[in-house]
């Protein structure tokens, strides 16, 4: 498996190889895997119930009983940080997958067919991009009903534009390449050429971008929750935890700091993975 990629001439197939490869890929992968395992094992690993309020133990600094301390309701921060991973990984996944699919399909149609389809789609993208990202997200969420599913819908409605532009540009480059002419000379239909031949060649850049996008989505999710439009209390989520803890930031730093560190590490994991993938697959942004 390994040899195949190494002998390639810069253009690599889809075969990922393990053993020998860019360090960021493994580092990023390990961080994300670590969080994933923590999230899966949350009921086992977390020492306390994340929403149980032990009023007697309010605002306790980190100690042996509460490693990360407790918040103003006496909830264990460590347990809440661990349980939050479930929500935040889900945000990163769904917040990327839906825009990815929508953007890829629309972008490849625009790039392949051109003409009025392209013009209309590009104008729509311009309109979406003309709004400040967060404000548009908030507007959509408020219209729908604050909550996580509204966040995903808003993400899909707003986030697809980056993927669409990326894929469209790639398709424009390769749609005039020789192997597409050859595929046409074999009588293939438009949809077959587009999805079987163009997309697999055009999508690498989007895959890499989706990893960096996961970082943005994660931070967005945290921001939206922070603003009270995403995950609703008392559910544990990093953004909410920071929001709730900010009034205590001078007296009880641990309430905001630990979820903050959690966000930073997961974001770093995705970012490293994006770098590593880009290097491995020969994609330059």
């Amino acid at each position: 498996m390994t040899a195949i990629l190494r002998t390639g001439t810069g253009r690599t197939g889809f075969r990922l190889s393990f053993g020998g490869g860019p360090l960021p890929l493994y580092l990023g992968g390990a961080i994300i895997l670590g969080w994933f395992v923590l999230a899966l094992l949350a009921p086992v690993v977390a020492p306390y119930d994340p929403i149980y309020q032990d009023v007697a133990a309010r605002l306790q600094p980190p100690s042996l009983a509460h490693w990360f301390g407790t918040d103003n309701f006496g909830r264990d921060i460590l347990s809440r940080v661990i349980w939050s991973a479930r929500i935040d990984l889900q945000i990163a996944l769904f917040g990327v997958v839906f825009p990815f699919i929508i953007g890829t399909v629309l972008g490849s149609c625009a790039g392949y067919f051109g003409g009025w389809i392209d013009t209309i789609l590009m104008r729509i993208i311009d309109v979406v991009l003309a709004f400040p990202f967060l404000v548009l997200m908030m507007a959509i969420i408020v219209i729908l009903k604050p909550g996580l599913s509204s966040f995903y819908v808003a993400m899909a409605l707003v986030g697809w534009v980056s993927y669409a532009r990326l894929v469209r540009a790639q398709i424009l480059v390769i749609k005039s390449s020789d192997f597409v002419v050859a595929a046409t000379s074999l009588g293939y239909s438009h949809s077959r050429i587009m999805f079987r031949h163009l997309l697999p060649n055009a999508i690498l850049g989007s895959v890499v971008f989706s990893m960096s996008d996961a970082v943005l989505v994660l931070l967005n999710g945290a921001a939206i929750s922070y603003l009270g439009l995403g995950v609703q209390p008392p559910t544990a989520e990093w953004g909410i935890m920071i929001a709730e803890g900010q009034s205590f930031i001078t007296s009880a730093w641990w309430i905001t700091t630990f979820p903050g560190i959690a966000i930073v590490t997961l974001a770093m994991g995705f970012s490293l993975l994006a770098d590593g993938l880009g290097e491995k697959l020969g994609v330059r942004e």
């Binding site: 889809f14 192997f179 002419v181 050859a182 046409t184 074999l186 009588g187 031949h197 697999p200």
Partner: protein, 330 residues
């Protein structure tokens, strides 16, 4: 004639520009017989590639359009088919081999799947059956260990192997006609000889007819049965290989042959035909070769010479055909 596979008549392709449309393929007619290799020879821009692309209705450029003529294959006029029917012709009845195999194969799909895809697209066969047939074709085009190579990507193949793979893709659906657009130009000489031999073998075993586009008269003399010489979008001379190479009667053909570097004469200056081939938008009236022709006179400048018989199965379009090659050389 019953053994004629493809019959092209008055094929005309125009380019739409600022002025009136100009024919860059102008009234091209030829017949392709079963199991025949027909060479289409000419300089760059002589219209040979455009002619071949017109036959599968894939003109290279939005400004090009087929303006007239017919191309009858299997009782149907390809040029009159609608878009859906044309797709069945492409790959199914006419296969296409391109000059640069490295860029004409999909880089992220295995060779075997590219062949199987074509088989499954044109015929309703099962996945396993398509795989079996694809391996069979890979073996026929001389790829060693085809079961294992089925799962290889194009970048894992050498140049010659890639060209074999592309021939396999084109042959997958057993087309009647194979169009080979300079299939050996990008290959080195030894590999070129192997590919030419492969094409001739395929012609013998499968009875496929081949239109072989090239500018290399050496290749033509190796592989072709008949040759059509194109100049300025017109066929100026058609005939058996023996009639063309060495006995061409059109001054252009004779000039082309005379331009071949002769063996055994090192140090001798290579002969050229004076002047430039006509450019799109500046096609001369009358015979399009007249500005460069040593025998041109007033008639050549005004009247287009018809393609007339000059012997059995030898046609030439010239008002003053040469008698033999020596006449030009002198």
């Amino acid at each position: 004639m019953s053994d004629t596979v493809l019959s092209v008549r008055d094929l005309t392709v125009v380019v739409h520009g600022d002025g009136p449309p100009e024919a860059i393929v102008d009234g091209v007619s030829f017949d392709l017989k079963r199991g025949e290799i027909l060479g289409l020879v000419g300089e760059s821009g002589s219209g040979k590639s455009v002619t071949s692309r017109a036959l599968i209705r894939l003109l290279p450029g939005a400004r090009l359009g087929i303006a007239g003529g017919s191309a009858v294959l299997g009782g149907r006029d390809i040029l009159a088919l609608d878009e859906n029917s044309v797709r069945a012709v492409r790959g199914g009845e006419i296969g296409m081999i391109f000059q640069n195999p490295s860029s004409h194969l999909d880089p992220v799909m295995t060779i075997g799947r590219q062949i199987a895809e074509s088989i499954r697209f044109h015929r309703s066969v099962s996945r396993g059956e398509a795989r079996r047939q694809a391996i069979d074709i890979l073996r026929q085009v001389g790829i060693p260990d085809p079961e294992r190579r089925y799962d290889a990507y194009p970048h894992e193949f050498s140049g010659g192997m890639r060209q074999r793979a592309m021939i396999a893709v084109a042959l997958a659906c057993d087309p009647d006609v194979l169009i080979a657009d300079e299939p050996t130009t990008a290959l080195d000489v030894t590999v070129q000889a192997q590919i030419l031999k492969l094409l001739m073998d395929l012609r013998d075993t499968r009875g496929v007819s081949i239109i072989f586009i090239t500018h290399d008269l050496g290749v033509v003399s190796q592989i072709c049965d008949r040759v059509a010489v194109m100049y300025g979008g017109r066929i100026v001379e058609v005939g058996d290989k023996r009639d063309i190479i060495g006995n061409g009667r059109h001054p252009y053909t004779a000039g082309l042959v005379a331009c071949q570097p002769a063996e055994g004469h090192p140090g001798e200056r290579v002969r050229t035909i004076a002047g430039q081939p006509p450019r799109v938008g500046q096609m001369p009236p009358g015979c399009r070769f007249h500005p460069r022709c040593p025998k041109a006179d007033a008639v050549c400048m005004q009247t287009r010479p018809p393609l007339e018989a000059s012997g059995t199965a030898h046609l030439v379009a010239c008002h003053h055909p040469v008698l033999n090659a020596q006449e030009v050389a002198s």
